[in-house]
Amino acid sequence: MNNLFKAAFIIAGKDLYSEWKTKQVVTTMLIFSGLVIVTFSFAFDPTNNTVRAIIPGLIWVITIFAAILGLNRSFLSETKNDNLFGMIVSPTDPSSIYLGKVIANFIFVLIVQLVSIPVLFILFDFQFIGHLPLFIAVVILGTFGFISVGTFLAGLASNSRSSEMLLPILLFPVVSPIIIAAVQATRILLIDIDQIASAISWIQLMGVYNLIFFVLCLVLFEYVLEV
């Protein structure tokens, strides 16, 4: 067990370090999310008051599309020099590869959100009046659920030559519960604060989903990375 976490942290550290040196993934994700915000400002007039209602949706659209970019890279970057094969034959549990990748992707997406959500609020002139700690909890839970399933399916899709095309098709139907829950909870916390009780139950749903799928992916990952 201890070994599992140690190997996972080493793999996550390796990904974060190589990202620190190249700054490839996070930069692309940040620019992309900026472009999405700009596109949205053309699609939905930011001066219009009704646009407040779509802000929660925008947060998650940005997160999902930016995260897909990162998820695509996370296993494809390992196919160079057969790194993935090296990881498989190394004396670690395959689950620790998964765990390490989840940690690294999760941190990438959190960095992107840390920048893009405030930018979204500023550009759309959105006054935050909701419950901040709960909002952060929703963002973290939702992102974690999305990333844990996404990393798993990215590993699955990386077996194919056309994995960039395959991943979104695999991922979106499976993560639909977490998207519904995250958008609804965010909507309540940002613009409909009276219904905070149902936000709590959405958060519980996200917690259950995360637990089920995280454990399932951790167990099944060894079948994904078999040679």
Binding site: A181, Q184, S198, V224
Partner: protein
Amino acid sequence: MNEPKDLIDIPEESRLYKTLFYISIPMVIIALYLSFIYAPVERTMGVVQKIFYFHVASAWVAFFAFFIVCVFSIMYLVKRSRIYDVIAGVSAEIGVVYTAIVLITGPIWARSAWNTWWTWEPRLTTTLILFFMYIAYIMIRKMDGAWEKKARLASVFGIISFINVPIVFMSIRWWNTKLHPVVFGEGSDQVGGGLEPEMLVALIFSVFTMTVLYFVFLQKGIYIEKLKIQTDRLKEKMQERMIS
């Protein structure tokens, strides 16, 4: 870890297929009779309601097919025998066809019953997401590479997405009931409570018929898959002979 086994016997139409096929012919005729002539015409919806017998039956088979996919995916991962993978794949293909039938007949019926083509009701949305998951599953199966790899990955996805179906259903139900969580209890019941006994007979019979048809298709599909595998083997043998 078991080694993947490519144990496919030389294909032959199974006797089960023949029996089921000859049972299914009269059953389909009886089902058509029951639903179009025997069952009374519904008072408010009229003749359009007849679609209900095939709609519900197809929906049941679609979900059942996905259940079979999940069961045989688990069995493949445990036993690593190719036949389980073949069964899961064929079942998914039939499932896509039935889900498509559900998604086509549904709006036709809904147009006259609810006066709208589509609502984001839990059952409808879940079926739609189920349809997308089936397609994703088939896309994994059509991936490049060796069959062992594709079978393994498809099995993993089959398990994941089957477990996802009830969660999707629950979350959409919560979303749709205007954020007041319904954990247990009935949703909006499409049947509308009182069903005429003749209608119920027709419904149960057509569900049963569709299930038999599913097994007929399953047997036929497995037979075709086996033929494909056999053809590939013969081709390979031929190539080897031509090279040497």
